[in-house]
Structure formats: structure tokens, C-alpha cells
């Protein structure tokens, strides 16, 4: 089944306006597969028919669902593994070393989806620095994923995605067919709605920001804007984690790239921040 060109153009425009994410030509399959469940829900015979109906009678709620369907990524726990090791073994020791007497850290998990990254940060720090007070702000565009994140409940298929078994048995209990993360970890994470195109969330200034696999969707000007806004809420000497295919280099020179193991982190230049 092939998607009609005007369906793709309409959806790509809608997603770009709402989220600044660019769906380039060749992503028709993505539109088709992500919107198929919505088309089924709406009892439309195809994605084309679904989008045609939507264009005929615009509905904000349904537009939101389309944007959410195309911007929500499947998410795993220790996604890429190495960033979390860099956090516990390098970033946190350096932050604590630079500010002796520090007993708390504020962390922002941006585009958090259903919360796996935020809770992974929480579990990693609870195991490596149990006395540290950690406050994590987790944000996303979608109210639906935030609600799920807040519940701290995940299906069997979700806990299978990159959560080490020792951490599963240590931090989760079974509730029916789901697994629920401990109250202690849930109490560390605050979920709130935020669009990266607008002002950053309250809860800062942050010591560490996770903004992974988000910039790849934006054009250069938007990347620059987003990084500038993030810079405004990071403490001097604070750290930024990006996705493996992303960098600040050539986009925003307020950051210093620091190789850690096989990945890199970015430290906010003290000079800039001062």
C-alpha cells in the first residue's frame, strides 16, 4: 500500500508546525505505520482515508494524536548503555568534586516519552550514589506518555527492553501483568509537559540535561535555538547528553565536548556562563 503524496505532505507539514520535526521524503512508511492504528480506531479504511477525513473536518485532539504518533519513539531502559555509565562514573564525580559539600543534583530528561530514561537515571544514581538527593524533571510534548510515566507501570514487553534483570528484581514489583517501579524512584521524578520550541521547564537550574535523539529531527536553526534555551537553564560546568548521532559542534559553541569511553558528553563552558 502506498501513501498518497498529498497525505504525506499534509502530515509532514502538521508535524513540522507542531513539533519542528522534519519528516523528509522517504518517511512515507513511517507515516503509514504510525497512523494505521489511529485510522483503525477511527474506522477509516486506510491512512489516506483517515487523513482525508481529518482535513475535511479539522479536530485539534485528533491533530495532537497524529503529531504524538509520529514523534513518540519506542523507548528502552539503558538506551545505548554508555551514557549512563558516563553519568555515574564521570559526570557525577566531577560535579561533586567541583562543588564540595553538594548533596543534591537536578537533572532534566527532555523528550522523556514514557519515562524509561528518567527512571534509568534514577536507578543508576540510587545504586552508585545512594546518599545523593536527586531531583529529575522529565518532560515531553505528549500528555499521554507523561501520564504513563507518572504511573511508573510498565508492561512485560517494556521491561524486556534493556532493563538489566538485577535492576528489575531490585526496583520493581509485579502488579498483575505489569511491573511497577518503587515509590522511592517515582518520588524522585516529576513529569511535566514541555515543548522544546518554547521556554524550558521550571525545576532548574540543572546540573545535567539529557536531550538524546531529539536534535536529529530538527533543522539547523531550530537545533541552535533549542541548545541556546537549554544553555540558559544549565548551571556553569553542568553537563549535556546528546544522542550518538548528535553534537553541539558547529551549532552552539557554548559547550565543550568531552569524550568519555565510547561516547561524548558536553560541558557548559564556565567562561560563557560566568
Amino acid at each position: 500500500m502506498t501513501l498518497a503524496p498529498d497525505t504525506f505532505t499534509f502530515v509532514a507539514d502538521l508535524v513540522r508546525q507542531r513539533s519542528a520535526i522534519q519528516l523528509e521524503a522517504g518517511k512515507e512508511y513511517l507515516v503509514e505505520s504510525r497512523l494505521l492504528p489511529l485510522a483503525r480506531d477511527a474506522k477509516a479504511g486506510s491512512v489516506d482515508a483517515y487523513v482525508r477525513a481529518l482535513r475535511g473536518v479539522p479536530q485539534q485532539r485528533e491533530y495532537d494524536r497524529v503529531v504524538e504518533a509520529l514523534t513518540t519513539n519506542e523507548t528502552s531502559w539503558f538506551r545505548d548503555v554508555s551514557p549512563f555509565k558516563a553519568l555515574t562514573d564521570h559526570v557525577v564525580p566531577e560535579l561533586l568534586g567541583a562543588r564540595p559539600g553538594t548533596s543534591s543534583l537536578r537533572i532534566w530528561s527532555a523528550a522523556c516519552s514514557t519515562g524509561q530514561e528518567a527512571y534509568t537515571i534514577g536507578m543508576s544514581l540510587l545504586d552508585s550514589a545512594p546518599n545523593l538527593r536527586v531531583q529529575i524533571t522529565a518532560t515531553d510534548l505528549s500528555e499521554e506518555v507523561l501520564t504513563r510515566g507518572r504511573s511508573g507501570r510498565y508492561s512485560q514487553l517494556e521491561v524486556n527492553r534493556g532493563l538489566p534483570a538485577p535492576m528489575l528484581v531490585k526496583h520493581f514489583t509485579r502488579v498483575g501483568t505489569d511491573w511497577e517501579i518503587s515509590q522511592r524512584l517515582r518520588s524522585q521524578v516529576t513529569f511535566s509537559k514541555n515543548n522544546l520550541l518554547h521556554a524550558p521547564p521550571v525545576g532548574g537550574p540543572y546540573d545535567v540535561v539529557f536531550l538524546r535523539n531529539v536534535l536529529i529531527y530538527f533543522d539547523l536553526a531550530t537545533k541552535r535555538d533549542v541548545l541556546r534555551r537549554v544553555r540558559g537553564v544549565v548551571r556553569p560546568g553542568g553537563f549535556l547528553f546528546l544522542g550518538a548521532a548528535e553534537t553541539t559542534i558547529g551549532i552552539d559553541d557554548g559547550w565543550e565536548r568531552i569524550p568519555v569511553g565510547r561516547s561524548s558528553v558536553y560541558r557548559l563552558n564556565a567562561r560563557r556562563a560566568a
Binding site: S33, L36, R40, L157, G176
Partner: protein, 149 residues
């Protein structure tokens, strides 16, 4: 003597996950069928759960559907013939995965028997039916019942 509490909607939730993850590669192909549909050429697969009380998860579908299930699980072509051993293996494994996940919902940790598959419905005289769920996979009926035996 303790009794088995109905699993209710958790049965279809588990079955949907099993089919989406391991058989279809996407959700949406296994759906509830409120009124059920009769099987014309049935085959059965079951596992028993021993956890203080003994329960049996029994899956039933038509042989042709079980062949399609085996083709999907074994990644065979649409017209490839399915041998008896493949049917037994594939349908039995579906019963095993569904049954294992149901067992985990029981209040007492228990054990699971190896799956059995047969053209005859296993003897359930004296057993009490706890749950009955009628599902449809790719347009064909698939029933799951749970029994206390």
C-alpha cells in the same frame, strides 16, 4: 482448598502481547470476538499450572489456523505445507507462553507443565471452567479457556 480466581481481561491482554511480539510483529491482528464462533476442525494445546491449586490453560483453534500460526512462528512461506511436528511445536509453544504468563498472576508461585497438543479435547470431567475468552486471529477463531482441575 483454595480456588482459582478468574483472570478475566488479563487473558486477552497477555494473548495480544504474545501475538503482537512473537507472531505478527505488530499489534492489531488478535482481537476479541464477543460472541465467539464455532470451530469446525479443532486442535487443542494446553499447559497445567500447579500453584497450590491446579489450573489448566487450554487453547483451541481450527487446524488450518494452527497451520497459519506455525507458518508465522517458523517464518515459513504462505503455501508451505506444515508437518504435524511443526503444528504441535508451534501451537504448544503459544500455549506455553500464554500459560506461563497466566501462572505469574497466581498468588502462590508455582510450576508449569510442558505443553500438550491434541486433536481431541482433553478430558475435563470434574473440572470447573474459570474463564472463557473468544478471540479472532486474522479472521479465524481462537478460544482460550482456563479450568480448575
Amino acid at each position: 482448598m483454595s480456588t482459582l480466581t478468574p483472570f478475566d481481561t488479563q487473558i486477552s491482554a497477555i494473548a495480544e502481547e504474545v501475538f503482537a511480539a512473537m507472531i505478527d510483529g505488530e499489534p492489531g491482528h488478535l482481537v476479541a470476538l464477543p460472541d465467539g464462533a464455532p470451530l469446525t476442525d479443532p486442535v487443542y494445546a494446553w499447559v497445567d499450572m500447579h500453584a497450590g491449586v491446579t489450573g489448566r490453560a487450554l487453547l483451541a483453534t481450527d487446524v488450518a489456523t494452527a497451520h497459519d500460526l506455525a507458518r508465522a512462528l517458523l517464518q515459513m512461506g504462505a503455501d508451505e505445507p506444515v508437518g504435524e511436528a511443526d503444528l504441535v511445536d508451534a501451537f504448544g509453544e503459544v500455549a506455553n507462553v500464554v500459560g506461563g504468563n497466566l501462572k505469574a498472576l497466581l498468588p502462590v508461585q508455582g510450576t508449569l507443565t510442558l505443553p500438550q497438543v491434541g486433536r481431541e479435547r482433553p478430558d475435563l470431567s470434574g473440572a470447573t471452567q474459570v474463564d472463557a475468552v473468544a478471540l479472532m486471529w486474522r479472521g479465524q477463531p481462537l478460544d482460550i479457556t482456563v479450568w480448575q482441575i
